[in-house]
C-alpha cells in the first residue's frame, strides 16, 4: 500500500468511524441509564435516513443547485433525520420499555422487546415505503473539497466527518456540563439516590432516548448521502456501532467515540487489504481481541457497579 493509498483509506475509515461513533453514543447512553441493550436503536438510525430522503424528495431539489440551496437541502435532510430519529426513540421508550420498567420486568424481557421493536420498525418502514432502496436526491455536486497528502476529501466525506465531530463535541458537552447531563450520569450511577436528589428518572430516561435518537437520526441521513436508504440499512451499521460501544466500554460516552473511530478505520483497512468479503471480519476480530484482555472495554469501568 502506497503512502497515498494509506491516506485515502484512513480518510474513508475516519468518515465511516465517525458515523459509527455517533450511532454508538445512542447505545451507550441508554445502556448507562437503563442497563438496556437497545437493539432497536439501529431502526432509529434507519428511520432518520428515510426522514431525510423523504423530506428532500418532497422539497424537490433543483437539478443544478446553487451553493446556498445545497446548504439548505442538507440542513432540511439533517433536521428531518433528527426529528424522526428523536420521535421514534421517544415513543420507543414510552411504548415499549416504560411499561416493562413499571412492572420491574427482568433484563431478558427488555432484550426480547428491543429485538421485537426492531423487527416491527424495519418491517413497518418496508411496508410503507417499499423494500427497494430509495435514492438520496442529489443535493450538491460531490466535488473535492481539499486534498491532503495527495488524497482527496469529497463534499460528502467532509459533510459526514464535520457534522459527526460537531455532534460528538456537543453530546460530550451535554453529558459533562449541563444539568440534563448530570441527571443522566447520576441515574447511571445510582438511580435511587438520584431520585432522592430530585432527579425525575422517567424524564431523564426519556430525554436520554431522545438525545441518542436525534444523533442516530442525523447519522441515518448522513449515511444515506453516500448513496441510498433502505429498510434494513440499520442492521450492519447498528451492529457495528453496538460493537463500538462495547469496545470503548459500554456506558462510557468517550469510549463509544473511540470505539466507533477504531472500528471504522479497521474496517476500511481490512477491505483495502483483504477485500470486501472480509469487511466485518477485521473489526470484530479487534473487538474479540480487546475484550479478551479488557473485558470491560477500552475505557470501561473496571469495578462493577453496585446494585
Amino acid at each position: 500500500m502506497s503512502f497515498h493509498d494509506f491516506w485515502d483509506v484512513l480518510v474513508l475509515g475516519a468518515v465511516l468511524g465517525s458515523l459509527y461513533a455517533v450511532i454508538a453514543i445512542g447505545y451507550t447512553l441508554v445502556y448507562g441509564v437503563l442497563q438496556l441493550l437497545n437493539f432497536a436503536h439501529s431502526e432509529v438510525f434507519m428511520v432518520g435516513g428515510f426522514g431525510g430522503v423523504i423530506a428532500l424528495t418532497i422539497f424537490v431539489p433543483a437539478t443544478d443547485p446553487s451553493g446556498l440551496q445545497s446548504i439548505a437541502y442538507v440542513a432540511v435532510g439533517m433536521l428531518f433525520g433528527a426529528v424522526l430519529g428523536g420521535t421514534v426513540a421517544f415513543f420507543l421508550e414510552k411504548v415499549a420499555y416504560r411499561p416493562l420498567r413499571r412492572r420491574g420486568a427482568p433484563r431478558l424481557v427488555f432484550l426480547i422487546t428491543a429485538i421485537g421493536a426492531s423487527f416491527f420498525l424495519y418491517n413497518l418502514v418496508g411496508k410503507l415505503f417499499g423494500r427497494n432502496p430509495m435514492p438520496m436526491p442529489s443535493m450538491y455536486e460531490n466535488k473535492t473539497v481539499v486534498t491532503i497528502f495527495g488524497s482527496t476529501i469529497s463534499v460528502t466525506q467532509a459533510l459526514i466527518l464535520g457534522s459527526a465531530v460537531v455532534m460528538l463535541v456537543a453530546v460530550d458537552y451535554v453529558v459533562n456540563r449541563t444539568k440534563l447531563g448530570s441527571g443522566i450520569r447520576a441515574v447511571a450511577q445510582d438511580p435511587e439516590v438520584a431520585s432522592l436528589m430530585g432527579v425525575n428518572i422517567d424524564k431523564v430516561v426519556s430525554r436520554t432516548f431522545v438525545l441518542g435518537g436525534l444523533m442516530g437520526g442525523v447519522a441515518g441521513f448522513l449515511f444515506g448521502t453516500t448513496n441510498q436508504v433502505f429498510y434494513t440499512m440499520g442492521f450492519l451499521p447498528g451492529i457495528t456501532a453496538f460493537a463500538a460501544a462495547v469496545l470503548g466500554g459500554i456506558g462510557n460516552v468517550r469510549g463509544a467515540m473511540l470505539g466507533g473511530l477504531t472500528l471504522g478505520v479497521v474496517e476500511a483497512f481490512t477491505v483495502e487489504v483483504w477485500g470486501d468479503a472480509w469487511r466485518y471480519v477485521g473489526a470484530f476480530a479487534v473487538l474479540v481481541l480487546v475484550l479478551m484482555f479488557r473485558p470491560t472495554g477500552i475505557l470501561g469501568e473496571r469495578v462493577a457497579r453496585t446494585a
Binding site: 444539568k179 448530570s182 441527571g183 450520569r185 447520576a186 450511577q189 445510582d190 435511587e192 439516590v193 438520584a194 431520585s195 432522592l196 436528589m197 430530585g198 432527579v199 425525575n200 428518572i201 469501568e301
Partner: protein
C-alpha cells in the same frame, strides 16, 4: 453534651414537623413495619435505634417516598406526603443521607455537592460555603473523584450533598457505620452544629451512645415495632438499652 429539654418535646405543642401514624410497610408478604407511630418536632434531633433488620431504614425510606406504606400516614408540616414520589419530596424540604453513604463514585466532590442542589436551577454558593465550612476536608478535595475518598470523607460528602438541597428535615441512616471512633466523633459534632443551625434531624443509628448524646429524644425499634421511646437521657440511663445497645460500654453507677 446537650441533654433533652422537656419544653422541646413536640408532642405537646402545635403540629410536629414529621408525624408517622400507624405506618405499616411490606416487602411483598413480609411486614417490615407493623404500625409505627413517631413524631419529630421542628428543630429537634430524634434518634431511631434498633438492631439490624428492625426496620430503621425501611422507616426512613418510607418517609422519603422510596417505599409506599400499605396502611398509615406520613405527614410533613401536617400535610400527607405518603404516596408522593421521592424526586418530588425534596421540594418539601426533605433530605435523606442513605445507608452506606452512596456518593456518586465517578463524580467529583463538587459534582456530588451540585447534585444535592439538583432541585434548584443552580446551586446556592452560600450553601456551598456552608458545607465547605462544616467540612473543610471536602473543600480541599473538591476536584477529587468521590470514589477515591476515604469512608469518613464519603460520609461527610453524603451529608454535605444532602445539605445542598436546603433540607428542613434531614434523615440520616447510620452515618457512623464502619467508621473509626475519631471520625464518628467529628461527624456527630458537625451534625450537632447542623442541628443548632436549625435543621431538624431524624437519626438512625446502631451506635446508641453517640446518637443519644446528640438527640433530644429517641425511639427503639424491634422487628418493625416501637418498643420504647422517651427523652434521650432517660433512654441512655435505661438498663435495657444499656444492655442491648451499649454492650461493652456498660458502666455501673
Amino acid at each position: 453534651m446537650s441533654g433533652p429539654e422537656l419544653d422541646k418535646n413536640p408532642g405537646e405543642q402545635g403540629t410536629p414537623l414529621l408525624e408517622l401514624s400507624g405506618l405499616r410497610v411490606f416487602y411483598g408478604a413480609i411486614e417490615a413495619l407493623k404500625g409505627i407511630d413517631l413524631t419529630v418536632g421542628r428543630g429537634e434531633a430524634v434518634a431511631l435505634l434498633g438492631a439490624n433488620g428492625a426496620g430503621k431504614s425501611t422507616t426512613l425510606k418510607t418517609v422519603s417516598g422510596m417505599l409506599a406504606p400499605r396502611h398509615g400516614e406520613v405527614r410533613l408540616h401536617g400535610e400527607r406526603i405518603d404516596g408522593i414520589a421521592s424526586h418530588e419530596l425534596v421540594r418539601f424540604g426533605l433530605g435523606h443521607v442513605p445507608e452506606g453513604r452512596r456518593v456518586f463514585a465517578r463524580m467529583t466532590v463538587l459534582e456530588n455537592l451540585n447534585m444535592g442542589a439538583y432541585r434548584f436551577r443552580r446551586p446556592d454558593p452560600d450553601d456551598l460555603d456552608r458545607v465547605f465550612g462544616l467540612f473543610p476536608r471536602l473543600a480541599e478535595r473538591r476536584k477529587q473523584i468521590a470514589g477515591t475518598l476515604s469512608g469518613g470523607e464519603q460520609q461527610m460528602l453524603a451529608i454535605g450533598r444532602a445539605l445542598m438541597g436546603k433540607p428542613e428535615l434531614l434523615l440520616l441512616d447510620e452515618p457512623s457505620m464502619g467508621l473509626a471512633p475519631l471520625i464518628v466523633e467529628q461527624i456527630f459534632d458537625i451534625l450537632r452544629e447542623v442541628n443548632e443551625q436549625g435543621t431538624t434531624l431524624l437519626l438512625v443509628e446502631q451506635n446508641a451512645s453517640e446518637a443519644l448524646q446528640l438527640a433530644n429524644r429517641g425511639y427503639v425499634l424491634e422487628t418493625g415495632e416501637v418498643v420504647m421511646s422517651g427523652p434521650a437521657d432517660t433512654l441512655l440511663a435505661d438498663p435495657r438499652i444499656r444492655a442491648a445497645y451499649l454492650g461493652e460500654h456498660v458502666e455501673v453507677d
